[in-house]
Amino acid sequence: MKITSIQALENIAKDVRRGVIEEVYSAQSGHPGGALSCADILTVLYFNQMNINPKDPRAEGRDRLVLSKGHCSPALYAVLARKGYFNANELKKFRKIDSKLQGHPDMNKVPGVDSSSGSLGQGMSIANGMALNSKLESQGYRVYCLLGDGEIEEGQIWEAAMTSSKYKLDNLCVIVDNNNLQIDGSIRDVKALEDIEGKFEKFGFNVLTIDGNDIEALVNAFNAVKTVKGKPSAIIAITKKGKGVSFMENKAEWHGKAPNEEQYKIAMEELK
């Protein structure tokens, strides 16, 4: 069942963010910043866009998502739990030795995870393979691939972009979670990535730039790219790292750090 009410989707995104904080606090490790920045993107995809059935997670004709920025697994796990792929109690076991919720997603352990990921730069090629298969078998399913902005410093992303373009993968939509921060600081300082939109355009993509923390803008963008034929699409989602938790917002230091008890309480209060 697809949820269309913007208010309802916003409430789910808040639940997802609470899940993220719960996971990272329980594990006392993990990556809250990027997970919070992409929570709205994943919420819209899983609750409003994708053709999926939690009761049949490996259905052949399902839409697929590759979380190429695998370290943002807390957001994906929270979404999948909320969607009913597994019990939400599992979230508290994130990164623990007896949990299926590995630090980075494992497709063989977690129902609903379409691809293992973690080593940055690799997911888009995998998404291409899935999208090519959809075309080859005329199955019509769509493939989404969520990239980090820092991640696209990896050369393989651009190798993959040429492949998406060569094979006119209009059933592929990549989303760049453009929160402008990476571990060592701002994207601009570390690698001077600059014009991401222009880069994807030059690689043959249909590109939309939107506010990636605006649910309605995301719904509209995903609907719009579905109608584009003959080329792959890229949505540059301008987001805020740490979105929703005041002391984490726009702070590179919250890329990979867990909150202490006091910070946890403040964060959960803010996300009520």
């Binding site: 494992d106 090629s125 995998i126």
Partner: protein
């Protein structure tokens, strides 16, 4: 062994792939701008809709193959060994082996027998790299017959496989009716003076060495270890018990390759000295394949001279 009829295992691969494509619609083939050299071009011509040339982008090729595998396809991904196991190592590790995906990495131009292209293109660490990855099976066929069998056989098994193929044309060792089994080494000869363990393009050299030694009154056996992982422990232990001298020969760095794999078994199961022939921790160089085999001491005469 038919020394008149020489076929490079990359050629056998191309032919086998074409046959396999006819039998199994789930086979897709990926290449990285080397289809004329890896011989996937035969498949490409017959089944263009199932062939994907990813261009000079080996990392992307391996990832794309992984994506296909998540959808139930059986991708055969090919390029030179130096790019498949070297350049795309992390993609093989994380995108293919960790999720245990059914990708068959068929790497041609392995070893110094690549010849004139020289060290940058002579992959001598791939066995070492690939066998250290969990879930990965490593196979190094020795002739045309065995290669054709391997290429079809691995399509029937689920999981990642690295197949090491050669550019260098080598004699046809086995009759078409020969029975092979994954994980089971083959014994050629019953000599008890020594065992020569070999794999890939050094098996024919080992057999020639065996013949040279017979003329001198030394009777040895050759063990063709096509499956390097999982390795045939039983055969290694049996030979250690039955023969006096143990020697391994490979077109690979002696660090981490066939000799190392055998030594690991011997150390734990039946401690005995093993003489390892191979590339002695140096890079290759340009030259003709035959000259290089002599230079690095892995040709028949060099093997025989060790006794």
């Amino acid at each position: 062994m038919n020394t008149e009829k020489k076929i490079a295992t990359r050629q056998s691969y191309g032919e086998a792939l074409l046959e396999l494509g006819k039998k199994n619609k789930n086979i897709v083939v990926l290449d990285a701008d080397l289809s004329t050299a890896t011989k996937t071009n035969m498949f490409a011509k017959k089944f263009p809709e199932r062939f994907f040339d990813i261009g000079i982008a080996e990392q992307d090729m391996i990832g794309t193959a992984a994506g296909f595998a998540t959808c139930g396809k059986i991708p055969y991904a090919s390029t030179f060994a130096v790019f498949a196991a070297g350049r795309a190592y992390d993609q093989v590790r994380n995108s293919v082996a960790y999720p245990n995906l059914n990708v068959k990495i068929c790497a041609t131009h392995a070893g110094i027998t690549v010849g004139e292209d020289g060290a940058t293109h002579q992959m001598i660490e791939d066995i070492s790299l690939m066998r250290a990855i969990p879930n990965m099976m490593v196979i190094s066929p020795s002739d045309d017959t065995q290669t054709k069998w391997v290429i079809e056989e691995i399509s029937k098994m689920d999981g990642p496989v690295y197949v090491r193929l050669s550019r260098y044309a080598t004699p046809v060792i086995y009759d078409k009716n020969e029975k092979f089994e994954i994980g089971k080494a083959l014994q050629i000869g019953k000599g008890t003076d020594a065992t020569i363990f070999a794999t890939g393009d050094t098996v024919a050299e080992a057999i020639k060495a065996k013949e040279l030694l017979e003329k001198k009154g030394k009777f040895v056996r050759v063990i063709d270890i096509h499956t390097i992982k999982p390795i045939d422990k039983e055969m290694i232990i049996k030979c250690a018990k039955e023969t006096e001298v143990l020697l391994s020969v490979e077109d690979h760095n002696i660090i981490g390759g066939l000799g190392s794999a055998i030594a690991e078994v011997l150390t734990e199961e039946y401690p005995k000295k093993l003489i390892r022939l191979g590339i002695n921790d140096s890079f290759g160089k340009s030259g003709k394949a035959e000259e290089l085999m002599q230079y690095f001491g892995i040709d028949a005469k060099s093997i025989a001279d060790k006794f």
